[in-house]
């Protein structure tokens, strides 16, 4: 295993009209190849900001971070990751196939290859046959699956997901969590996943990074390996509940439940 993400003493302060906001403080984190790491914490704890720093969508103001051994910017230029946003963020004027084709077009991949990659990735997220549909013709869960297919289309090493299922109802969310696990097992990609749901984090992750707010920092990193075969029922088992309890306790100690 090699280290994919390596953050040391990372700091980020936003200058706003109301004065500086300390979004990230003293972040030390290493993520290895093939891991599924979740960031959990209340809003304002910097979990999304940290993900955006990894994706080179924000620049840190202190400390160092490397992605794939190079700077986040170089990693972005090398198209090291696929990013999935809170909303599906599909372009409404493109069909589902067209949306998956978007990064491939930007990267200058030939039409024949694009068609093959669209087919392959739609199959991966169980959306075969939907390539001619427009986004509004799909349900929220299907749209988010399409956006995952888009992020995977150019076969990046890493998948960065920012509360991808936050806007979906619980039934759809359970279903997508299961599918995501299968996908992860199939593709062996490194996944960094932001969430505010404890069961989701415990169910999906190999490690859970518990973060706390003001300033955004890492409170605790919890190992969480429930094995490769994880049916939804695993959430009733004592092992699962114990880890969930540990996460909740971590959040409490990090003052996440303070008013």
């Amino acid at each position: 295993m090699s280290v994919v993400i390596d953050a040391k003493d990372l700091d980020l302060t936003f200058q706003t009209n109301d004065g500086p906001v300390h979004a990230l403080s003293n972040i030390n984190l290493q993520v290895e190849t093939g891991e599924f790491v979740s960031f959990i914490g209340p809003s304002g704890c910097g979990k999304t900001t940290l993900l955006r720093v990894i994706a080179d969508l924000e620049k840190p103001t202190g400390g160092t971070i490397s992605v794939n051994g190079v700077s986040p910017e170089q990693a972005r230029l090398a198209r090291a990751y696929g990013y999935v946003f809170q909303a599906a963020a599909l372009y409404p004027w493109r069909t589902i196939g067209g949306n998956i084709s978007l990064p491939l077009e930007v990267m200058g991949i030939s039409k024949a290859e694009r068609a093959e990659l669209i087919r392959k990735n739609l199959e991966l997220v169980n959306l075969t046959g939907f390539d001619k549909k427009f986004p509004w013709q799909l349900s929220g869960g299907m749209q988010q699956r399409a956006s995952i297919a888009r992020a995977l289309s150019f076969d990046p090493d890493m998948l960065l997901m920012d509360e991808p299922f936050g806007a979906l109802d619980e039934i759809v969310r359970d279903h997508l969590n299961e599918q995501l696990l299968k996908l992860w097992a199939q593709t062996k990609k490194t996944v960094v996943f932001v969430t505010h749901s404890i069961p989701e984090a415990v169910f999906l992750s190999t490690r859970i990074v518990v973060m706390s707010p003001r300033p955004g920092r890492i409170h605790e990193i919890i190992d969480c390996n429930l094995g490769d075969d994880r049916p939804l029922d695993i959430r009733e088992t004592p092992e699962f509940l114990e880890i969930a309890q540990q996460v909740r306790e971590g959040l409490r100690q990090g003052h996440s439940y303070d008013d």
Binding site: A55, L57, R76, L77, R79, Y81, G82, Y83, F85, Q86, A87, A89, Y91, P92, W93, R94, T95, L102, P103, E105, V106, M107, F134, P135, W136
Partner: protein, 298 residues
């Protein structure tokens, strides 16, 4: 409410409300025609030392040769005579004049739209141009077009440019504005997530433009084009006033007012309104087709 279908739905949802308004306007129009044309009839009667009955008075007010306000049927009759009953090559055909106005409207609209889009693209991509161009674009529209139109015509005539182009330039001068403003807004309309997505793909500026900004701006473009085509028509008509009133709907308005031909003025006005409605409807139709193709209409 119960869903109505077919002809019945067309009647109740479209024809009835529109028809009611039209009927109301016609009644109002007739009322004002009687009211405004009555003093002349009373004068005539007084001069001839004759009594005039109310019914005779009303009848007279609706059939004057040069009424203050012509009655709707007089205007309709004039329009019929100058469209259907005249050859379209005749100088007295409203179709002939209408076509001249429409052709300079369309040329000016095309130029204005192209200029508006170009300006918007420059403004969105350059902070310097945003700061320096925008105030001038807004100032350009505060100058009354009636003041600037004759100057454009005269100046261009001096360099031997006459006919369609000067009028089209006035149309373009008016119509570039809504397109520029609308497109600046449209090209800036993609939300942050869509822009971030392009950034994660390391997309170039031109890729961001063609794959994201331009398609996002299309609905804005059509909305502005609807406004632009209507004011292009106004520009063309205004441009026809100082040309010596040779041809076009503007010329019909001007000759009408020279000779006190109010019926001619009103028929030209109605013709202009019909042309405007048709042009706006056409732009709307194209907009619907394009939006449907882009999957933006459900």
């Amino acid at each position: 409410m119960q869903q109505r279908r077919g002809i019945s739905s067309f009647f109740f949802d479209r024809l009835l409300p529109v028809g009611t308004v039209v009927a109301f306007l016609l009644v109002l129009w007739y009322g004002f025609a009687m009211l405004l044309n009555a003093p002349f009839e009373r004068d005539q009667a007084a001069r001839a030392n004759a009594e005039i009955s109310t019914s005779q008075l009303i009848q007279n007010t609706l059939s004057q040769d040069r009424p203050v306000l012509p009655a709707p049927h007089q205007v309709a009759d004039e329009i019929w005579k100058t469209t259907a009953l005249k050859k379209i090559t005749s100088k007295r055909s409203l179709v002939y004049h209408g076509w001249i106005t429409i052709s300079s409207t369309l040329l000016g609209f095309a130029m204005g739209t192209a200029l508006g889009i170009l300006l918007a693209v420059l403004i969105v991509h350059s902070r310097v141009l945003d700061k320096s161009l925008m105030p001038w674009i807004i100032t350009s529209q505060t100058i009354p077009i009636l003041a600037i139109a004759p100057m454009i015509i005269v100046v261009l005539n001096a360099v031997n440019i006459s006919g369609l182009l000067p009028k089209a330039l006035i149309s373009a001068y008016l119509s570039f504005f809504p397109v520029a403003v609308g497109m600046v807004k449209g090209l800036r309309s993609p939300d942050l997530m869509h822009l971030d997505l392009m950034r994660t793909y390391n997309a170039s500026r031109s890729q961001v433009f063609w794959k994201l900004r331009w398609p996002s701006a299309v609905p804005f473009l059509f909305t502005s084009m609807k406004v632009a085509v209507a004011i292009s028509l106004v520009g063309a008509i205004v441009g026809e006033l100082p040309t010596g009133a040779v041809a076009g709907l503007g010329a019909r308005l001007l000759t009408g007012s020279y000779y006190g031909q109010t019926i001619q003025i009103w028929s030209a006005l109605i013709a202009a309104a019909v042309v405007a409605a048709v042009l706006v409807t056409l732009v709307d139709l194209v907009s619907r087709i394009v939006m449907k193709r882009m999957g933006m209409v459900r």
